[in-house]
């Protein structure tokens, strides 16, 4: 079988999807449990836990270390395109908010890493971030 030397300096789409799925897995599990229990107070508590986890994992961890849990498992790092350093807590949260733009056009923004030269989503382009192998 013929292999080409890796020239990729950016995480591919499959790796990024895998990392994202790991990040959202706890939220999905908690959401389902909350829905099954059907108790409003418990559901509200679970919603708060989900938000807190999201802020910690996708905001704090990804922003300060470059690695949310999912990215750590897949050995990826979120960094600023210009600096090569983690982008910080606020910017990481802002990046997730900017994913709204990826959703608006029938979620096609999430597919941009399939063809984009820097494997960026639209949110990455807005905030000038890239995801790279750690």
């Amino acid at each position: 079988m013929t292999y080409a030397p890796s020239t990729t300096t950016y995480a591919n789409w499959g790796q990024r999807v895998g990392a994202f799925l790991i990040d959202v897995l706890p939220n999905i599990v908690l959401g389902i449990i909350g829905y099954v229990i059907g108790n409003t107070a418990i559901s509200l508590l679970f919603d708060l836990v989900i938000i807190a986890w999201w802020v910690y994992n996708r905001g704090y961890l990804a922003g300060t270390t470059g690695q949310s849990w999912g990215k750590k498992v897949l050995n990826l790092r979120l960094i600023g395109e210009a600096t090569g350093q983690p982008i910080g807590f606020g910017m990481a949260l802002l990046r997730d908010i900017c994913h709204i733009v990826d959703n608006v056009i029938c979620y096609v923004g999430w597919l941009f890493p399939l063809w984009d030269a820097k494997r960026q989503t639209l949110a990455d382009k807005i905030l000038k971030t890239v995801v790279v192998p750690a």
Binding site: M1, T2, A4, V104, C106, W115
Partner: protein
């Protein structure tokens, strides 16, 4: 030395397209039983369709053999399907060791392809605006 398979952009889109086709075979059943759908956020919020509206409908139509239904929903899906069908033999051939690994496109080629894709997406948007009676 670390080596990795390098897929070309058409190959990556083809792999994704094959995945979408597989999902489209079960999507109507899953949707009917759970009520889960993939509405376009732009159209849901504003009533204005985006260039990619109709792709789910067209993909489901294509995998069930309804080409006319697919064209009516999104001609863009037909173009993507043509790309998938055209690229699949190349991809499979490469996976079994026939042919060389893809050569990265030059910046010029990437720019040209980008322009073509942009024109196609713009055309798709006009089509969707017409389909939903905005034009």
């Amino acid at each position: 030395m670390v080596v990795a398979r390098a897929y070309s952009v058409p190959e990556r889109i083809t792999l994704f397209g094959v995945g979408c086709a597989a999902i489209a075979t079960v999507y109507p059943t899953v949707s009917a039983h759970t009520g889960l759908e993939l509405p376009c956020p732009l159209r849901t919020l504003t009533g204005i369709p985006c260039p990619f509206c109709g792709l789910t409908t067209a993909t489901v139509a294509l995998v069930s053999g309804d080409a006319a239904g697919a064209v009516a929903a999104s001609p863009l899906a037909i173009l993507v399907a043509a790309l998938v069908i055209g690229t699949l033999p190349i991809l499979v051939g490469r996976l079994v060791g026939l042919g060389r690994a893809p050569v990265p496109w030059s910046a010029r080629t990437r720019r040209r392809v980008g322009w073509v894709a942009g024109v196609l997406v713009a055309g798709s948007w006009v089509f969707q605006l017409h389909r939903f009676h905005w034009l």
